[in-house]
């Protein structure tokens, strides 16, 4: 097999549920997320370690990280 390409995670943001509280942005250890207006957005997917902290602490069921 050719050299394995680094598989990026898939971050799903449920925009209708996000209340832009910034908890996920502030606690993400590698600064993957940012607030864009009234919703959260991904700014640096490459840095995501799949730690799930954003999902665990989101009060609004608004963010999920898939492998």
């Amino acid at each position: 097999m050719a050299e394995a390409v680094k598989q990026l995670p898939r971050i799903v943001i449920h925009e209708k549920l996000c209340k832009a509280c910034s908890i996920c942005v502030d606690f993400c250890p590698t600064n993957v997320l940012e607030l864009k207006g009234s919703v959260v957005a991904v700014r640096n997917l490459e840095a995501c370690t799949r730690c799930q902290l954003c999902d665990l602490r989101c009060p609004d069921f608004a963010i999920q990280v898939f492998d």
């Binding site: 209340k19 908890i23 799930q52 602490r57 989101c58 009060p59 999920q64 492998d67």
Partner: protein, 285 residues
């Protein structure tokens, strides 16, 4: 697959909360950053791990922002009166002891207006799990101080600083006879999940005080810059795990709330005693 890869693999699949939520009810009513949603997610993961089916659970609440929780979950649910969740829950448990009764109640709901029900439920040791959401304030009614508001803290009814000493929910539960007493926070979500699972499994009255945040009334009144700062100052830096407390120098523990299982003992459970009494009265015992 090595154990670590397996653990990583497991962690990278998001938990399916929809399994336990009533369809079409989100977004919930809680304000941006309110800790109640974080606690609900820890509870749903704990319930999933417990292996209980949705029909085997009855969730009971009083009135308050936290008490809105049963409206979102797909269990048997009962949203009752302010301060009276435990009285209803006792009725449910006595009528249907096979149900797993979980109560969600605010610090005001449980410890102020419901304080009497709280101590007597603990005294009877009825098999149920009580989650007390301590956000140091009455959220729903606009930020009045509660029995957990720290001395000196500002609320909309303590404009010059609260002068009432606080109730320590865990000390109160233990002194009243609860056989499982623990504390967690919204910040420590995985630890809270484990604590809640242990509480659900325990036979007898389990009380878990959960330190969470009301950024709107407690946060703004007390000059927190953000919900993140509240979670860091109050939940992360204001608490210490009971497992670490012994190993730390006293100054690192002083003034902090202990997290984890603080008290667990065995004592006859009320419903079992009641069933024995029925059998005896019917001449079968």
């Amino acid at each position: 697959m090595s154990a670590t890869t397996a653990a990583k693999k497991k962690l990278s699949v998001p938990f399916d909360y929809d399994k336990y939520l009533r369809p079409g009810k989100l977004p919930h009513i809680w304000c941006p950053g309110c800790g109640h949603g974080i606690v609900l997610k820890s509870l749903l993961r704990a319930i999933d791990k417990s292996g209980l089916t949705k029909d085997e659970i009855c969730m009971v609440s009083g009135i308050g922002c936290s008490s809105r929780t049963p409206g979102y979950v797909d269990f048997n649910t009962l949203h009752t009166l302010h301060g009276r969740a435990l009285a209803y829950a006792t009725g449910v448990k006595l009528a249907k002891p096979e149900l797993n009764v979980i109560i969600v109640t605010g610090d005001g709901d449980a410890l102020a207006i419901g304080g009497n029900h709280f101590i007597h439920t603990c005294r009877r040791n009825i098999d149920m799990t009580i989650l007390v959401y301590s956000n140091f304030i009455y959220g729903m009614t606009g930020g009045q101080f509660s029995p957990t508001t720290p001395v000196g803290a500002l609320s909309n009814t303590s404009r010059y600083g609260n002068i009432e000493p606080v109730f320590d929910c865990c000390d109160l539960a233990k002194a009243s006879g609860a056989t499982f007493v623990a504390r967690g926070t919204a910040y420590h979500t995985l630890e809270l999940e484990r604590t809640l699972l242990a509480a659900i499994k325990h036979k007898g009255t389990s009380v878990v005080e959960i330190i969470d945040e009301c950024p709107v009334y407690y946060g703004r009144n007390n000059k927190f810059k953000s919900v993140t700062q509240m979670m860091e100052d109050i939940e992360k830096n204001g608490t210490v795990s009971v497992k670490q407390a012994d190993k730390l120098p006293p100054e690192k523990v002083q003034g902090k709330l202990l997290r984890g299982i603080l008290h667990q003992v065995e004592r006859p459970e009320y419903c079992e005693g009641y069933e024995k009494l029925i059998a005896k009265a019917q001449g079968k015992g």
